[in-house]
């Protein structure tokens, strides 16, 4: 039977439990004897801890223990970096609990273990912490001055400057006919998940079970084993249902040590569930960056070079993947465009704020905003149509594979795998109806100004080095899938069942289950990040299928005394010589692993076009129409990949227009609830369209698939800002900062109306 589940909009298996409230998230677990952990966090952004008095807290009935730095034998361990673990970053890694100094509001100081969360919270109020405040570093500019150091012993607030290079940028700028220099900045966002983080740990006879693992359970087990002085085999990380990932959930945070440590400390199961206010100050922040950038062009609009310097606000510590966005800003600023000469630097600055990590499209949202804004400004200067300007400079199909700028240190050479960027741009313009709508540019209709914008993007996927999958034959002859990829809500149970059913040539309902993430399932797993699950896990599944078939043939040949080559496998039937016929059910328990090794990346790409209207009097933006076309290699499930594109786009629109983690100059986070951190709601962006295509399969994996799901968010900032600029051209509005809040837009309009009086832009 030749199946064609791959490529079909198969309804999701997960939904059978999620729509009935039968998902099982970590907070749904409550074993007997459970204690609840609550965490005392610093209310001071920068200071030295003089003393912590826990006596009064311990007197409260129901409080079992209070853990501080001094309760951890040998002192609190630090959290090692997972990605780009360069020696320069080492001194800036975070301790699992504040040790002598606090460096951001929200940093853990003490853990209370109590018989209920409410009693634990009562106890928090009784802990007396004496902190001597130090002047706070609340932004990159203050950090760069260097007179207030977060880590005095290291003598600098800047652990690293990345440089992305290709060609000879300085030479290109010397001879270019046209040069423009601009400064842009992005706000501070985060990958807010609807399920707050949670960890539950159970300690029994030298073995630790940690529930609530997500994203990278195998890697986190490695860190935890080292910190706890345990062999990895003594720790089981369990991945439950996970209520959203977006890059932020599942990295190793302080609590990922503190809760397992607490469980061993008291010899009872301990659960910690983050509340939303904690989540705002404790989960990785992201995005806040500024750039001073120059572009060089020939008179005909050919881009010749790009050079500049970005400054990235890192928060107080280098977290597990904290360097990724800063690196990506430098390496991916050129994106889908052919820019032969590049020299872009990106400096990382420590500040007294929540540390940063990746958030969907890390560095790319920022870089795409910087670049697409710049391109529109240049097109206007050179009087070239903005579409034509982009089309002329897109990387061509004949350029593939296309070498990207080299980034140092952590030497990384990367190339784009496949695609024809002009096709997706043309398709987007056509579906959007650009030629008709363009007439509305800058027009005032019924009190609202109309603006349109278009732009292109690439998104990386398929990070290596490896993924593992295992197939096992169940007693009824169905097949169970076990995989090292993790589920964060993206629907991998369904897409892996599709891939496995096609590979095994059996009906999808004969795939009994897809078991993912947890460390017990496969020998080695790498999880879900960098849009890698489908490509890496799916390719490993193909290898596991081949290995399972080989194993069945070998086992059958022994059982039936024939050569393995005499055995034929047709769907789930095993056919041998002399009329021998069996089924998978006759081979119960046979299991085979498969792996996929990969050093390259896939590049999904596409184009966005937007039509907005702006009420200049109140600075309010409405998205009238938004079209995105994404070409993402071989599509496993068009319904779920389209869902990823739209979902990611709405997150991007949140970042472009609403979301901002605002701090004051004392390092106090001024955002304390979802009433302050504005997320898109159902009424905000109803007019979005997405088309997913599979024009160019990836040549780097047997599925031909590409990682997808970040392209929506990557472009949103640049596209919306350009559309707003075009709508408000009458006022000379040129946004250089996100998010475009009503206040910010109104200020730019006012500055345009009254050019002589000073108003900030």
């Amino acid at each position: 039977m030749r199946n064609s589940f791959v490529g079909s909009p198969v309804e999701r298996r997960e939904d059978l439990r999620f729509t009935r409230g039968r998902g099982q998230y970590v907070d749904d677990l409550s074993p007997d004897g459970l204690l609840y952990a609550v965490i005392l966090r610093s209310s001071v952004a920068h200071g030295c801890i003089r003393s912590i008095d826990t006596a009064a807290a311990l007197k409260i009935e129901g409080v079992h223990a209070v853990i501080t730095a001094q309760d951890i034998p040998g002192g609190p361990p630090r959290i090692a970096m997972r990605l780009q673990p360069l020696p320069e970053f080492k001194p800036f890694e975070q301790s699992v609990i504040a040790d002598q100094k606090v460096r951001y509001v929200g940093e853990p100081i003490a853990v209370v273990l109590a018989s209920s969360v409410a009693i634990g919270e009562d106890a928090l109020e009784r802990i007396v912490v004496d902190i001597e405040s130090l002047p706070a570093v609340s932004d990159c500019e203050t950090s760069a001055k260097g007179d207030r150091l977060l880590f005095e012993e290291h003598g600098t607030n800047c652990p690293m400057t990345f440089t992305a290079k290709c060609g000879d940028a300085d030479a290109a700028f010397e001879t270019a006919a046209y040069v423009r220099r601009e400064k842009f900045r992005t706000g501070r966002h985060y990958g807010l998940t609807m399920e707050p983080r949670g960890v539950m740990a159970e300690w029994a006879t030298g073995r630790l079970t940690v529930s609530g693992a997500a994203k990278v359970p195998f890697f986190n087990r490695r860190i935890l084993a080292k910190q706890m002085g345990l062999p990895e085999t003594a720790i089981a990380m369990v991945e439950n249902d996970v209520g959203g990932g977006f890059g932020a959930r599942g990295e190793f945070y302080p609590e990922d040590f503190l809760i397992p440590f607490a469980a061993r400390h008291v010899g009872r199961p301990v659960k910690w569930i983050e509340d939303r206010r904690e989540n705002l100050m404790a989960m990785n922040h992201a995005r806040q960056a500024a750039i001073d950038v120059e572009i060089a062009c020939a008179r005909d609009g050919t881009i010749l070079g790009l050079r500049g310097h970005a400054d990235v606000d890192m928060g107080a510590y280098m977290r597990t993947n904290g360097a990724v966005a800063a690196r990506n800003i430098a390496q991916f600023m050129s994106g889908p465009y052919r820019i032969p000469n590049i020299k872009l630097q990106s400096s990382l600055w420590m500040t007294n704020k929540t540390p940063v990590g990746t958030y969907r499209g890390p560095g790319r949202f920022e870089a795409d905003f910087f670049r697409e804004r710049l391109l529109d400004l240049v097109a206007k200067d050179l009087d070239i149509d903005r579409v034509e300007f982009r089309r002329r400079n897109l990387i061509r199909a004949s350029d593939m594979p296309y070498r990207m700028p080299t980034i140092t240190p952590f030497e990384s050479k990367d190339e784009i795998d496949s695609g024809d960027y002009r096709l997706s741009l043309d398709r987007c313009l056509q579906e959007f109806g650009w030629s008709d709508k363009e007439k509305l540019q800058e027009r005032l209709i019924d009190g609202r100004y109309h603006g349109l914008a278009v732009g292109c993007f690439i998104e990386g996927g398929a990070a290596g080095p490896k993924e593992t999958a295992r197939l096992e034959i169940d007693p009824d002859g169905s097949v169970a899938v076990f995989i090292g990829s993790s589920a964060v809500g993206q629907g991998v149970e369904t897409v892996f069942a599709q891939i496995a059913a096609d590979a095994l040539e059996i009906p999808m309902d004969r795939i009994s289950g897809v078991h993912h993430g947890s460390t017990a399932y496969v020998s080695d797993g790498y999880g879900a990040y960098h849009s890698r699950s489908v490509v890496m896990g799916g390719s490993a599944l193909l290898d596991a299928t081949k290995n399972l078939h080989d194993l069945i043939r070998a086992t059958a040949s022994k059982r039936y005394s024939c050569a393995p080559s005499d055995i034929k496998i047709v769907e789930d039937r095993i056919i041998g010589p002399r009329g021998i016929s069996a089924t998978f059910a006759d081979f119960v328990g046979l299991t085979a692993e498969g792996i996929f090794l990969n050093k390259k990346h896939t590049y999904t790409y596409g184009a966005h076009a937007a039509h907005v209207t702006v009420d200049a009097k109140i600075g309010q933006v409405e998205i009238v129409d938004y079209m995105t076309v994404v070409d993402c290699g071989r599509i496993i499930n068009p319904m779920t990949v389209r869902g990823q594109v739209i979902g990611s786009l709405v997150q991007g629109l949140g970042g472009a227009l609403l979301e901002d983690l605002v701090y004051d100059d004392q390092g106090q986070l001024l955002i304390g609830s979802l009433a302050d951190y504005l997320l898109p709601t159902a009424g905000d962006f109803p007019n979005l369209r997405a088309i997913v295509t599979d024009m160019f399969p990836s040549p780097i994996n047997p599925l031909g698939a590409k990682g997808a799901g970040e392209g929506g968010i990557i472009s949103a900032g640049g596209i919306v800002a350009n559309a707003v600029a075009n709508a408000l051209g009458t006022f000379g509005v040129e946004p250089r900062e996100l998010p475009l809040t009503p206040q910010r837009i109104w200020e730019m309009v006012e500055a345009g109306r009254h050019p002589l009086t000073k108003a900030s832009a």
């Binding site: 999620f18 998940t193 609807m194 996970v242 209520g243 869902g643 997150q651 009424g683």
Partner: protein
């Protein structure tokens, strides 16, 4: 103190602290974990349940306030055998990704469609704007709710579960 109410058709009496929220009581005392907690300050809607037929945020209500009420949670809107028309519509339209907001979306939509089976897209968006979803971008959720309207129009009333 003891509090008695009906939940999903069953009479229960639970011993609670006066400060315990209804959502904590449902999740931790009664083990009805389908109702989720996303913000504890009434903004995200993940904990939406039905109290005497109305969609209510269970994080903004104390358990003691439920005395004598008729409470229905997502478990009470579900059957073992098959998805209800509303649930099937969520699945068909890919209105679910991580599933965390889903029970609140479904309880909210159920309350809306029970009262207003002919509501239009704007009305659906208005009502659902009190429930935050971070995954889907909402478009598929609105489509799913609109598509489920026909199941609520039949004269016998709402088709769901035991409510």
């Amino acid at each position: 103190m003891p509090v008695s109410f009906e939940v999903n058709g069953k009479q229960v009496t639970v011993e609670v602290e006066p400060r315990m929220t209804l959502v904590d009581c449902l999740r931790h005392q009664l083990r009805l974990t389908g109702t989720h907690v996303g913000c504890e300050h009434g903004v995200c809607g993940a904990c939406t349940i039905l109290v005497d037929g109305e969609a209510v945020r269970a994080c903004l209500m104390l358990a003691v306030q439920a005395e004598g009420c008729n409470v229905v949670t997502i478990e009470g809107l579900s059957n073992d055998e098959a998805l209800t028309p509303l649930q099937a519509s969520f699945r068909r339209h890919h209105a679910v990704q991580c599933g965390f907001c889903t029970p609140g979306m479904i309880t909210t939509a159920h309350a809306l469609l029970t009262e207003e089976p002919d509501c239009d897209a704007d009305r659906v968006r208005e009502v659902l704007s009190g429930n935050i979803c971070r995954c889907t971008g909402y478009i598929s959720i609105v489509e799913a709710v609109l598509d489920a309207r026909s199941a609520y129009r039949k004269s016998q009333g709402p088709p769901e579960g035991r409510s």
